[in-house]
């Protein structure tokens, strides 16, 4: 990498420093992984870290990230089930746990009765080569996206979930990524494939492990998730980002929807000092998608949600409700792109972004972006930014609630409308409690 370093500018040097550890990565026994890595490293020669001068990063200043140096995480974990059981989702019968990016089989469990394949990449690569080869590294555009490329350069393991044809699994599959070390960068990776006619619920969950007496440290999670829905498949995808308060979290998720498939996603952003979530959904004929989200941040947090719903073929239906609740001097960004390609007639798309500012220093940038190249479509979008409605506050006060209790309840309710969309009861309760605590509400 020495030649790369010499030609890079200071910011690019940073990328070079991150890649310096790449040489120490052991060669994978899997040829496909080695070739993906090599291609990613090659692409990184030409890619640069984004700055606020890049349109897609205009509102999101990540220069703080470049002031930090990170090492790869130590791979061994001494965590036992008792240490992390409180993070488990009780309904989940299949759980893949990664600690600081490394698969932790002793914390994981897999239920295989349904035919579900769920494991880490090296375990299933040979047995399910076709599904993995078809999608791994194909869905995410790592060739153009520097963080996805960086993740791919370090690709060695991944959570792999393959739902067989025409099987419906009601219990959620929990993909749990636990951060315990500071000063490290990890590259979590997920590949989820729903074969035709199958149905499943996947919870992708990023958390920091609270360690009493230890100050929350700086670390960097750089995640990539690829999700493929074959024809008539349905996935409920819940994504929770609850990283530590000093963490950096950047994630790229690419979803491919087959004919008449249905992708229902809810993304909840609560943690990290600076976070960015890129969601790209490409829809085939008659596919349906919901890409809902809640960002609830305060103090000096920055949370950026960039979504692109691409109606490639006709008769697609997309719905998006994204809400931000911003307190302190926090800064939320929502950029919602809807693309309707030329042939994608009869597309039906509704996007709504609603934002609540809780303090004078809180800041929101919202940018709906509709690009419609077909002429027979129904597309609606809207964005609102506001404070709480006086009539709503009055209604609650007229029922005896104090001013602060009324405001907290309405703030909670604003967020809870998104939480209510999550089809996993215990997770819903956990998040409701989180939101209630953050908004100072009581119920």
């Amino acid at each position: 990498m020495s030649t790369v370093t010499s030609i890079r500018q200071p910011v690019a040097d940073y990328l070079g420093a991150l890649l310096a550890d790449h040489a120490q990565l052991p060669t994978s026994p899997l040829a496909r992984i080695n070739s993906l890595r090599a291609e990613a490293v090659h692409r990184l020669d030409d890619l640069e870290l984004p700055t606020v001068r890049d349109e897609a990063w205009r509102f999101t200043d990540i220069s703080e990230l470049t002031k930090q140096s990170f090492k790869p995480a130590r791979s061994a974990t001494s965590l036992e089930v008792d240490d992390v059981a409180h993070l488990y989702i009780e309904e989940a019968r299949t759980r893949l746990v990664f600690v600081d990016g490394t698969y932790a089989p002793q914390l994981s469990s897999v239920e295989t009765d349904s035919g579900l394949v769920a494991s880490n990449l090296p375990t299933v690569f040979t047995t399910h080569a076709a599904a993995i080869d078809a999608h791994l590294g194909h869905l995410v555009t790592f060739r153009d996206e520097v963080f996805a490329a960086l993740n791919t350069a370090f690709l060695s393991d991944a959570a792999v979930v393959v739902m067989p044809r025409n099987v419906a699994l009601s219990a959620p599959v929990h993909l749990l990524f636990i951060a315990t070390q500071t000063g490290v960068v990890t590259s979590p990776r997920c590949l989820v494939v729903a074969e035709s006619g199958s149905l499943m619920t996947v919870v992708e969950d990023y958390v920091v492990l609270d360690q009493p007496g230890r100050q929350e440290g700086v670390y960097f999670t750089n995640a990539v998730t690829e999700i493929a829905l074959e024809d008539n498949a349905r996935i409920n995808h819940i994504r929770i980002q609850q990283e530590g308060s000093q963490a950096f979290h950047i994630a790229n998720c690419a979803v491919s929807l087959g004919r008449a498939s249905n992708y229902q996603s809810v993304s909840v952003t609560l943690g990290a000092r600076i976070s960015r979530y890129n969601l790209e959904v490409a829809m085939a004929e008659g596919a349906e998608c919901a890409a809902d989200g809640l960002t609830l941040i305060a103090t000096n947090q920055l949370a950026d949600t960039h979504t692109c719903i691409d109606h490639v073929q006709p008769h697609g239906v997309s719905r998006q409700l994204h809400k931000c609740i911003v307190g302190g001097s926090a800064h939320a960004v929502f950029n919602g792109q809807i693309v309707v390609r030329q042939g994608a007639q009869r597309t039906d798309s509704v996007q709504s972004n609603r934002n609540l500012l809780l303090s004078g220093k809180a800041h929101i940038d919202t940018k709906p972006q509709l690009e419609i190249f077909a002429d027979d479509v129904k597309c609606a979008h809207g964005a609102t930014i506001g404070q709480l409605d006086d009539d709503e506050v009055f209604y609650l006060k007229s029922r005896g609630l104090s001013d602060s209790a009324a405001r907290s309840l309405l703030t909670y309710a604003f967020g809870a409308e998104i939480i209510a969309l999550i089809p996993v009861a215990s997770l819903k309760r956990r998040l409701e409690t989180n939101v209630l605590e953050q908004t100072g509400g009581q119920l």
Binding site: D390, G400, L401, L409, Y412, G415, A416, A420, Q442
Partner: protein
């Protein structure tokens, strides 16, 4: 019902109030005693709903003159939530929706807040569930309403039932029902009215703000007041409502104008 020697619950004297600098209430007088049911009628824009909101303490309405005593105390010294805890209840013409909060949670929070302020026992979710289900029977409401978000997706009639359910839970001394009949079909009107009638008692009073006489077929008032231009210009018994239904408001207005002119001439 009129009871001899009952206490004044509400005494309004020369009340004036503005919205956005426009005077809507222009010298309103009204006395409501314990046990009584009063109806306030009048054409659109006469100030009926504004009066209801002023009593509940909506901040968009500024009181510019006069006085209101609630059980002998100055109402204007109380914040809206203190009025609610002291026993004033406003059933809203347009109840707000709170997506994300279950009706049961909201009802219990409101109930317990008011109970605590009144020095009474709060109920845990299980106890409250029993309590609220009893009250819901009164309004022929399905228990499903407890699990749904507050007023979200409720029909007009369902929202009004939910308002009266809150009234049943909070046991106010003075209930002000703002156009509770509007948007109700005849069955819903009957159910809501029956509920209200069962809540009426000797220790509390009710003020019904309504545009139409039909509500008063079900909830029989002791007094009917006609409002115009922010004042009460005529007061009568329950028969006045029937007369208004048959003849409209113009004759009341004309009669009031004539009496004012007469009073002026007397003074001269």
């Amino acid at each position: 019902m009129i009871y001899p020697d009952s206490n004044n619950i509400l005494e309004v004297r020369g009340l004036r109030a503005t919205v956005n600098g426009i005077e809507i209430i222009q010298g309103l007088d009204l006395t409501v005693k314990s046990g009584e049911v009063h109806a306030i009628m009048g054409p659109n824009g006469s100030g009926k709903s504004t009066f209801a909101k002023v009593l509940a303490g909506h901040t968009a309405y500024e009181v510019t003159g006069g006085s209101v005593l609630f059980e002998g105390n100055n109402l204007f010294e109380l914040a809206p939530e203190e009025r609610a805890r002291a026993g004033i209840f406003l059933a809203f013409q347009y109840p707000i929706e709170i997506p994300g909060v279950a009706n049961s949670q909201f009802l219990r929070l409101s109930y317990n807040t008011v109970q605590a302020q009144r020095g009474r026992e709060e109920l845990d979710p299980l106890e409250f569930d029993d309590h609220v289900r009893d009250k819901m029977k009164l309004l022929e409401m399905s228990p499903d309403f407890l699990d749904r978000s507050v007023n979200e997706g409720f029909s007009g009639g369902e929202k009004k039932r939910n308002e009266i359910l809150q009234m049943a839970l909070l046991e106010p001394r003075l209930a002000v029902l703002d156009e509770t009949d509007s948007g109700l079909d005849i069955d819903a009107l009957r159910v809501v009215s029956q509920g209200v009638n069962q809540l009426a008692n000797q220790n509390s009073a009710m003020v019904l703000v309504t545009h139409y006489q039909r509500l008063l077929n079900y909830i029989v008032p002791d007094f009917v007041h006609v409002m115009e231009a922010g004042r009460i210009i005529k007061t009568g018994g329950k028969d006045l409502a029937l007369e208004l239904e048959a003849r409209g408001y113009d004759w009341v207005s004309a009669e009031f104008q004539a009496s004012q002119t007469h009073a002026l001439q007397e003074q001269v």
